[in-house]
Amino acid sequence: MEKKLEPSFKEGGKLHKFWPLYDGFATFLFVPGHVTHNGVHVRDSIDLKRTMSVVILALVPCLLFGMYNTGYQHFLALGQTPELGASFLYGLLKVLPIVVVSYAVGLGIEFAFCIIKKHPISEGYLVSGILIPLVLPADIPLWMVALAAAFAVIIGKEIFGGTGMNVLNVALVARAFLFFAYPTYMSGDMWVSMNDRNGYEVIKEGLVDGYSGSTLLGQVADAGFNGTFKNVAGADITSTVFSDAFFGFIPGSIGETSTLACLIGAAILIISGIGSWRIIFSTFLGAYAIGLLFNAVAGSNAYMAMPAHYHLVFGGLAFGAVYMATDPVSAAQTKLGKLIYGFGIGAFAVIIRVVNPAYPEGVMLSILFFNVMAPIIDYFVVQSNINKRVKRFKLASNGVK
C-alpha cells in the first residue's frame, strides 16, 4: 500500500500538498525505515510517539475511573444505589463523545496547520486531546469542547510554532478559556452529571433532597471550613472524606477526582523515566508545606485550619502535579529549576484556594502562572552556572590555578 500511495504524495505528485497528512498516517502505522546519515550511526529506540503513548497509558487509570465516577455521582445524586456496571456505562456514554470531539477538532486543526506550513505532523496533541476532556465537567456541551480545543491548539500552540514551542500547557489553555469565557458554567454546582442539561439550565427533577453539586473545595469556599463535608446527596461524609477524596468518589472534573489513579499514572511516568519525579514530588511538597503553614497561623480564618493533607487529595492538585505540571515543554528544564517550579505550583495552588474564595480551585491558575515563570526560574539556575564559569575565567586570567 505504501509503495502504491507514496508517489502521488511526493514532490511533483498530484497530492503533494497533503504530504504532511500522508506522512503522519504512514509513520503512525510504521516506524519508518529512515537511517542515520551523519553523526551517530545508531539511535535509541525512543521517539516522540513512544513518549506520548506512555503518557496516554499513564492517563488510562484516570480516564477509566473518571467514567465510573461520573456515573457513580449521577446515581448518588438521584438517590439510587450506584452499581458498578451501570455507573461505568453511564460515564462511558457521557465521556466518550467529549474525547471524540476533542480529538477530532484538535487534530483537524493541527493537520490543517501542518499542511499550510508544510511541517510534519507532531505527536503533541495525542496527549492534549485526552487531557482536555479529563479536566472538564462531564455535562459540558460538546460545542464548548470544540471551541476550547480549537482555542487551545491555535492560540495555545500553533501561533508559537507548534509542538515544543508553546509557552503554556495546551490542555490548561482550553480549561482556562472555558473558565473565563463561560464562568457561570464552569463554577458552582455543575460538577455532577444530570440526565438532562439544557445549556446552562440544570434540570433538578428527581434529585434527592439536600443535593449539592459543588466540589469539596467549593463547599469550603462557600461555607468556610467547619469541619464537616457532605456528598452530593447531602449525607455527612466528614469521617471518610479523606479516603473518599483519595479514591476519588467525589464530584469534580472527569479525570481529576481520584488521587489514587493519579498516583498509578505517576508511577508509570516515573518508572519509565518520562515524567519528572522532581516536579511531581515538589508540587505535593509545596502544597503540603503551605497547608501546614496556614494551619500554624490559622487563627480566625477557618479555611486555613483545614488539615494540610486534605489539600493533596482535594480538587485537581494530584492530577495537575502528575500530568499538567510535568509537561516538559512548558515546565522548567533544569534539575533545580524543576524543584522550584513544582514547589511553587503546589504552594500557589493552596494559597489561591485559601486566600481567594472566588477561585475555589487554584491548581489551574497556579500551573499557568508557573508555566510563564519557568523560563525565569531556569534563567537564574543557568546564570549561576555561567557565573561560576566567569569566576573561574577571572581567577585563571589572574594566574590563580
Binding site: E2, T27, L29, F30, V31, P32, G33, H34, V35, T36, H37, N38, G39, V40, H41, V42, R43, D44, S45, I46, D47, L48, K49, R50, T51, S53, V54, P120, S122, E123, G124, G161, G162, T163, G164, M165, I271, S272, G273, I274, S276, P328, V329, A331, Q333, T334, K335, K338, V382, N385, I386, K388, R389, V390, R392, F393, A396, S397, K401
Partner: protein, 449 residues
C-alpha cells in the same frame, strides 16, 4: 598527584561484536588513501602529482595556514591519483604501495637534549604534528600557541572500542618515549580507568600526572576528563593525543622514521572474524573486511565507532585518527506499529521499553533512526548522559541562535562534537547534536581568529 574522578552519568551501549584479543596482519595492502578531509578546517596545499614516487615519510601536502605542518605518506610507492572536488579542493591522495615499505630517514634530535622548538619542528616536518589536536575547536593544534597541558586518555570507552591495554602490548618503550617528548612541550596528564586500565604501560608511565576516573562512557573522552581535571577557560588551549598516536610519535625518536603502524579493532555484529589487525594509517577497508563480512549488502561500514565514526564504503579506507572499524546492519525496514510494541528486544536508556528488565543483555543495533526529527520536547534527557557541569540544551540553543557571547558563557570552549554523541544517541527528538556543536565551534573559530 593526579585527581580521582567519579562520574555516574553516561551510558555503555551494549553492542554485540567485540573484537577477540588476537592480532593478525592483514593481507598485503596494495594502496592507501590519505584524505585531507579527515582534518577538520584544514586548507591543504598539495605537494605531489600522479606518477611521483614517494617514501614513507615523504610530505604529500601541508597546511596553508601553518606551512610548517606537513602531512606525510605512511607507505612508499607511487602516487596514482590526486582526487580533487569542487573548486579544485584536494579530497584525497591515493598511493600504490610497495611490497616492502621504504622509509625516509628522519633527522630528529634526541628527545632528551632537544629544545621545545626543535621537537616541535621535528614533529611538524615528519608528519607527526597532525596527531596532536587542540581544544577548543577540536582541530589540529596550533604549534605557535603554548598549551596549558596535554591530555591523554588511556582507554577508549566508546561502544566496541579497542582495548588499549591490549593494543599497546609490546609498545611500552615507544609509548614512554612519546610521553617524554610530549612532556617537553607541556605538562602531560594521563587518565586511567579504575577498573578497565590494568596495563603497567599506563599505570607506571613516567613524566606524566596520572589521574583516575571511574564510570561508564563517556568517561574515556578527553573532553570529560579535562572538564573534571582543569576546565578550559576562554583564551586557554589544551592539547589531546590518542595513546596509539603517542606510540607513533615515540617511534619517530626510537626508529628515526615515520612509522604509522597501529593496532585496529575490527568490530561489529556483521563481521565474521572480529580481531585486532596491525594496519597502517589509510589502510583500505577491503584489506580489513574482505571475506570477513556476514553480508556484503545492507551493512554500514564505519571508520571508528558507532557514535562518532565516519560512514565508509567497502572501497573506502580507515580514517587518519581511527583505530577501529565497526560494521552494523543498515535499518531500512519499516516496522509496523514499532512505537507501540512492548520492546523487549529494543535497547533504550528509557524504561518505556521493557528491555530495561534485562540489564546485561547485548544488542545488535542497526542504523534505523527509530522515529523522525522533532523540536526539543523532552527535558532532562541529555543531562543523564552528559557528565559535565554544562547545560547541553542551553548550549545547543545558543549555537542555533549564533550567539557567541552566550556560547562562551555556557562553555563552548570545553566541548567537542564527540562529547555530545551520547546526547544525540538518546535524543527523543532525533536532533543531530554533534553537527550543531561542530557548527558552533566553527562559527566561534571563524569569529575569534
Amino acid at each position: 598527584m593526579g585527581k580521582s574522578i567519579k562520574i555516574k552519568k553516561g551510558l555503555d551501549i551494549r553492542l554485540i561484536g567485540e573484537a577477540e584479543k588476537v592480532t593478525v596482519s592483514p593481507d598485503s595492502v596494495d594502496s592507501v588513501v590519505i584524505r585531507p578531509t579527515d582534518f577538520h578546517a584544514l586548507v591543504p596545499k598539495c605537494l605531489v602529482n600522479p606518477g611521483d614516487v614517494v617514501k614513507a615519510g615523504t610530505p604529500l601536502f601541508f597546511s596553508k595556514k601553518h606551512p610548517e605542518i606537513q602531512f606525510c605518506s605512511p607507505v612508499s610507492g607511487e602516487v596514482t591519483e590526486v582526487v580533487r572536488g569542487a573548486k579544485r579542493k584536494l579530497m584525497a591522495i591515493r598511493i600504490l604501495a610497495d611490497k616492502e615499505t621504504q622509509y625516509q630517514q628522519a633527522n630528529v634530535p634526541s628527545a632528551e637534549g632537544a629544545s621545545r622548538e626543535e621537537l616541535i619542528a621535528a614533529l611538524c616536518a615528519n608528519g607527526l604534528w597532525p596527531y596532536i589536536r587542540q581544544r577548543p575547536f577540536d582541530v589540529i593544534a596550533n604549534p605557535n600557541v603554548a598549551p596549558k597541558a596535554i591530555y591523554i586518555s588511556a582507554f577508549d570507552s566508546n561502544p566496541l572500542a579497542p582495548d588499549l591495554d591490549f593494543a599497546l602490548q609490546g609498545y611500552g618503550t615507544e609509548f614512554q618515549k612519546g610521553l617524554d617528548v610530549l612532556a617537553k612541550l607541556a605538562p602531560v596528564n594521563l587518565t586511567v580507568h579504575t577498573s578497565r586500565t590494568k596495563s603497567e604501560i599506563f599505570l607506571k608511565a613516567k613524566n606524566v600526572d596520572i589521574h583516575t576516573i571511574s564510570g561508564p562512557h563517556p568517561s574515556g573522552n578527553t573532553g570529560v576528563q579535562i572538564h573534571h581535571i582543569s576546565p578550559v577557560n576562554k583564551g586557554e588551549v589544551v592539547w589531546t593525543v590518542n595513546p596509539q598516536d603517542v606510540v607513533i610519535i615515540g617511534r619517530l625518536f626510537t626508529e628515526n622514521r615515520y612509522n604509522a603502524l597501529r593496532v585496529v579493532a575490527i568490530t561489529g555484529s556483521e563481521v565474521t572474524r572480529r580481531r585486532y589487525a596491525k594496519a597502517i594509517t589509510g589502510v583500505p577497508m577491503r584489506a580489513l573486511l574482505s571475506g570477513n563480512l556476514n553480508h556484503e549488502n545492507n551493512v554500514r561500514i564505519i571508520s571508528g565507532n558507532v557514535l562518532s565514526g565516519t560512514k565508509e564504503s567497502i572501497d573506502g579506507n580507515l580514517g587518519f585518527y581511527d583505530s577501529q572499524v565497526t560494521v552494523i546492519p543498515e535499518g531500512y525496514e519499516p516496522e509496523l506499529f514499532g512505537w507501540a510494541l512492548p520492546g523487549f528486544g529494543k535497547f533504550s536508556l528509557n524504561r518505556s521499553f521493557f528491555s530495561w528488565l534485562m540489564p546485561g543483555k547485548k544488542y545488535t543495533l542497526d542504523t534505523n533512526q527509530h522515529g523522525e526529527e522533532r523540536a526539543f520536547v523532552v527535558s532532562g534527557e541529555y543531562e543523564k548522559v552528559f557528565p559535565m557541569n554544562i547545560y547541553p540544551v542551553y548550549l545547543l540553543k545558543s549555537i542555533l541562535a549564533n550567539d557567541i557571547e552566550r556560547m562562551e558563557q555556557l562553555g563552548i570552549y570545553e566541548v567537542a562534537p564527540e562529547d555530545f554523541a551520547l546526547c544525540e544517541f538518546v535524543c527523543t527528538s532525533k536532533i543531530e547534536t554533534q553537527s550543531i556543536v561542530r557548527k558552533g565551534l566553527d562559527f566561534v573559530m571563524s569569529e575569534t581568529e
